[in-house]
Every structure is written in C-alpha cells, then in structure tokens.
C-alpha cells in the first residue's frame, strides 16, 4: 500500500467514524426514559424480573379498575434481576431516589435496613388513613410484621404457605398414608425408595432454600414457633443441640439417598419437573407453585392427583402441625419520599381490587381480600382454606439471617446432605456469619 492510498483511507475513515459516533450519540438521547427518581409524574414500579405476574396484574388494573388513577399518575414499569436487586436498591436509596413502589430487597435484612433509614411508607397506617385497611387479610398482616421486625411495610402481592405436596397415585400404589409425624414421613420415604421411586423432589443448584427450609421446618416442630426468632434475638444459637438435631435429620435424608442422586446439581425447574412427571413422590414447596400445577403440558400427573400435607410433628417437640410457614414473596414497599396523594389513590385502588384480579388473571393468591368472587380450582381452594385456618405462621430458615449467613447456608447445604460436612459443622459455619 502506498502512502497516498493510506492517506485516502484515513481521510475516509476518520469522518466516517466521527459521523457514526455523532449520529449514535444523538440517537442514544432519543432512547431516554424517565429516571428512576421521584417526582417524575409517574407511578413507577421497580420489580424483579423473576416475578412477571404481579406487574402484569397491576398493568391490568391500570386499564380497568384503576383507570382514573392511571390517568392522573401513569403507571411505569421497570425491571431488575433479583440477583442485582439489593445493589440497585442501595444505589437508589443512596440518592434518595427510590421509585414510587419497588421490590424492597431480596433478604429481609435489606428491607429492614431501608425501613430503619426511614425510607418506607407504613402501609398499615396509610391504608387505614385511606379507609381500606380491612382489605388486607389479618394473616398476611401478621406475617409481614413477623418478617420485618414488627413493622407493616409491605404490600402482600403474594401470600404463600409452604408444606409437602404428594403424588396421591404413588401413595396409594405403595400403600402409604399421609404422615403426621417425622418418623412416619421417613418411613414413607423408605418405602418409596425401596419401590424405586425417588422419595423427595428437591435440589440446591443455584439456590439452596428448597433443602434448608426442611431444617427450619424440623426446628419449628422441635422447638416451637419462636425457633428462628430466638436465633435473631441471640437467646439461642444454631449450634444448640435442638437445632443441630434438625440439621442432622435432614442430613440423614440425604445420606439414605431420599433426596435423589445428586441434589446439589438439581435446580428449581428440575425439582418441579421431577415431581410433575411422577419421578418423585413428595415435594416440599410453597403455594406459589400452584400455576405450575395448573399447567397441563408440564403437569403429567394431573392436578387431581396432587395432595398437600403440612410439615409433620416431631416426637416430644413443642411445635404444632398447624403452624404453617408463610411468606409474601419478594416484598413490595412504597417509597416514603415519593408518596403523594395521587400515589395514595393508586394504593387504595390496588388494595380494593388486587385480590380478585390476581386470582382471576393468574391464579395468584395474595394477602388482599378477594372482593369479587372468583371460581378457583380445587388446589387453590385448599390453599385458601389452609390460609384461613392458620392461626400462627412461622418463617423460613434464613429469614432473620444476615445476608452473608444466608449465602453461607445456601452454598453449603449440598455438602451437608452429601455427607461432606457434619450437621455440627454446617450450623457452626452459618452461625459464625450471623
């Protein structure tokens, strides 16, 4: 290449680069949405991508029951992956720019620190002032208070209870009855295992909670409904014998192979699929799984074939079988600095209509009253009845843990059920990060 032709190239290249750059810079300015800040004249909802159902329901309300509210304060939808939620919430909180309504942190600890910093609206007080407080189910209210340090700072867009789901056909074929004690549960599992059916559909790939919640389930039956709050308050330690016993009980399930071949490699999808294809007989899961049960292509065993039993009791334990674990999914909170009368109007409309809209649109059970009757399937009705009859609800294993202890618990649970780590060591490790 000669110098002359080089020169030509560069003369051509540089203006092209410059023009391309300038054009795209200009274009990028067109792609502007409003900032995630306050006072942008919108009802901004920052939610986790992992929960597409709730924003879809609110969007539907915006077009129907809440048209007037939406007109005065248009609905605006922003998403964030759950893994990045804590970071985003912190960055926005640091700028005092929390969106009008938002998923307030993955771990309750983050939600509580937001609350402590005075960033969140007291939902109960706000709803009372708006005259719609009776639209929140009492059970949901008490669950929220139990989860977030006695303060009512979340909108119960979901209300889930947890327990064991079982395959009725498999139970009948093996002559099993629904267990009410831990020993019966283990005995049932033994029969299933002998018959070549994987007893429990569970796993810890990606997220460890499907197994760690068995530990807390056992601990609540052994110690009573205050078991995890005692850890938070420091009156007990995870290394106390009663807690280690709970971890040991779960480790034993793993040692006997009842949790499947390699639970550490099983992710959430596979857990559900193992249960819904009849590969496994029992699954511990929250009632958020109901839409999966209703999905006829994924559910090969049929919804009529699925039954529910609560976490069984432990001989000599202080807990009772009707104390069900409950939660509200990722908590949704209202930003105090963005809360105006128009936001209040929106909140009022949501409180009145969300319950029935959620049930109708996606079969989602919320903590809001269902004001317009909706016909539901048998399993949904069963869960609603369970919720109505639950007087004391309990929490999950990591509820009151520091975020670091939660990570430690999730990342080491596979080693516990695999026999690589003793129950004592597991609890010691988690306690150390408290």
């Amino acid at each position: 290449m000669t110098t002359a032709s080089r020169r030509r190239v560069s003369r051509r290249l540089i203006p092209v680069l410059a023009v391309a750059g300038a054009t795209l810079l200009a274009l990028s300015a067109c792609g502007t949405g409003a900032g995630a800040g306050t006072g942008n004249g919108k009802f901004t909802y920052l939610h986790v991508t992992e929960d597409p159902a709730t924003p879809a329901i609110i969007k539907e309300l915006a077009g129907n029951e809440c048209t007037a509210e939406n007109k005065s304060l248009p609905y605006d939808d922003q998403t964030i992956a759950q893994a990045q939620l804590d970071q985003k919430v912190q960055l926005l909180a640091g700028q005092k720019a929390l969106p009008t309504m938002f998923s307030a942190g993955g771990a309750p600890a983050v939600t509580q620190s937001l609350d402590k910093a005075g960033s969140l609206v007291d939902v109960d007080a706000a709803l009372t002032k708006l005259g719609v407080a009776d639209n929140v189910l009492p059970a949901a209210k008490s669950t929220i208070k139990a989860l977030y340090g006695g303060n009512d700072i979340a909108l119960p867009y979901q209300f889930n209870i947890e327990g064991f789901w079982y395959n009725k056909k498999i139970f009948t074929a093996n002559g099993l009855t629904v267990p009410t004690t831990w020993d019966e549960l283990v005995a049932d599992a033994k029969v299933l295992n002998g018959a070549g059916v994987q007893p429990f559909a569970t796993g810890a790939s990606g997220q460890g909670w499907p197994i760690t919640r068995l530990i807390s389930g056992y601990a609540f039956r052994e110690i009573g409904p205050s078991a995890m709050a005692d850890i938070r308050d420091g009156t007990s330690k995870l290394t106390d014998p009663a807690y280690v016993k709970a971890a040991q009980a779960v480790a034993d399930l793993g040692a006997k192979g009842y949790l499947g071949k390699a639970p550490e490699a099983v992710d959430y999808n596979t857990i559900i699929s193992d249960f819904l294809t009849g590969k496994a007989g029992i699954m511990y899961m929250g009632s958020w799984v109901l839409p999966n049960f209703a999905d006829t292509t994924a559910n090969k065993i049929g919804a009529d074939n699925i039954g529910f039993f609560p976490f069984p009791t432990v001989p000599g334990g202080k807990g009772s079988i009707d104390q069900l674990p409950a939660n509200i999914g990722v908590p949704t909170a209202l930003s105090k600095s963005a809360y105006t009368d128009r936001v209040g109007a929106w909140t009022k409309c949501i409180a009145k209509n969300f319950g029935s809209a959620a049930l109708k649109k996606s079969g989602q059970i919320s903590g809001f009253k269902v004001n317009t009757p909706v016909t539901t399937d048998a399993l949904t009705t069963l869960v609603q009845d369970k919720i109505a009859s639950t007087k004391t609800s309990v929490v999950w294993f990591e509820t009151y843990f520091s975020p670091k202890a939660s990570t430690t618990s999730w990342n080491n649970i596979a080693s516990l059920v695999d026999g690589k780590m003793s129950a004592d060591d597991f609890m010691k490790l988690v306690q150390a990060d408290q």
Partner: protein, 294 residues
Amino acid sequence: MTTTAFTDIRPIPKRIVHPSRVIAKVASIVAIVVLLVIEVYPLFWLIMSSFKTQDEFLNAAAWSLPSTFDLSNYYDALVTANIGRNILNSVIATVPSLALIILFGTAAGFALEVLVFRGRGAILLTFLAGIMIPGQMILLPLFNAYFQIGITGTLWPLIITYTATGMPLTVFMMATYFRAIPREVFEASTIDGASMLRSFFSIGFPMVRNAVFTVALVQFFFIWNDLLIAITFTSSSDTATVQVGLLNFTGQYGATRFGPLLAAICVNVIGILIIYLFLNQRIMRGLAAGSVKG
C-alpha cells in the same frame, strides 16, 4: 537467499512423499476435526435446544433433537421479551463508545509513544494502572455522579463508562504498536512541513490500521458482553441491553424458561456473527496488505 531460490527447491520434497509426511498430514486433519467438533458441537446444541419445549429440555437427553421445529420460542423471545429493542440498545451503546475509544485511544497512544514531552512515562503508567482496576470499584461513585447530572435512565451512562473503561487497554496497546514503527517515518513527514498533529492523521493512524481493527474487535466483545456495568446503569426495559435482556427469562424462585432464553441467545449470536464476519474480512484484508511491516 532470494525467494526465487526457494521456489526452485520446493518441488523436490513434494515429489518424494515421506511416510512421516503422511502421518503429519493425517495428524493435522485429525487435529482439525477434533478442534471443530469441540468448538462447533456446542453451537449445534444451542441451536437445536432453542427449538425445544421446556419439557423436552428437562426430560429428554441433552443431545436429543427437538421433536418439532416450531418457532414459538423465537416468537416469545422477539415479541414477549422484546429482544429486538435490546439489540438496538446494545448497538446504540456499543458503536459510539467503540468509535471514541479507538479515536482517542489511538491518538493518546501516538502521543505517548512518538511525541516527546515531560511526564509521558508517568502518564503511560497511569493508563496501565487503569487496565487493572476492577469495574466493581467505580460503580457507586459513577452512579451517584450520573444521577446528579440527571442522565440515569438514558444510554449515556453506558456510553461514557464504556469509553472510559476501554481507554487504558487501548492506549497501552496502541502505544505498543507505535513503538514498532521507526521514528524516521514520522520525522520524514515533518520535513515535508507537516505538523505532528497532521502526521498522526495522515501517517500514524493509517499505519496502525490493522492494530485498530484488532483492538476494536477486542473492545467490541468486552462491551457487547458486559453485564456488570449495563445492569448497574439501566433499569427500565427501554434501556436494557442484550445481556440484561437475557435475565428476563428467569422466573421467581429460580425457574428458567429455557426455550425462549436459548432462542434469544441464538438471535443475539447470529447478529454478532454477521458483525464478526464483516470485521474479520476487514482484518484479514488489512493483514494481507501487510502494511504494519513498514
């Protein structure tokens, strides 16, 4: 030792076919096949899996073929998840940053390696230090700054941040390339009466053209595949880039919609492949012209 001498000798070893040559030939063919299987099979898996239903993905063997080739996953990816908008956002964020990185980075590399002024060694070292700064470290201050000047919610934070983070490596690499060019080349141009500034645009930049394409390629993939910066500075789906958009296929409690996710990945990959083939041609053409050898 001219090339003519070499071409004269060449036919001789060609006629006598040594057994060792045959072995070498077979070995190299085997090597190529193994290499291609290792590198290409996963791609095939990706495309096949993008047609599978959730049920097939979970319950059929990983290497099985999809039962039907229906496009519902692609429909989901393009319409429901709006991957088209994500690709546009990625392009809008990538191209200007890339142009700025190249223009400013090459100029700075030239200044630091060819020009003489006090403190240039120190400045080069400062840039070098920048290569090693973990991206996580600048997120909080930058977020606050962008927020204060009111550009969050646009693609500006991405363009600015990518330009800055790409700068150290580009400056350093360009300085290395300029080091290989004899200074007499630039000296000669100044004797013609051109200033150093002109000699950069007329001689320096064209001479490292191949290096520019290499660096552009490298930076392109850094920026295109970035998740950390993109996720920190985008929140609405209006500004989500491809990598952020891919996160939309996970459900609450850890569920993943595999079919649409893989379809979105395939769309993304095919787009990128076209860009790569285009760039690759440019690089190879440039290299064939052999201009860096100067």
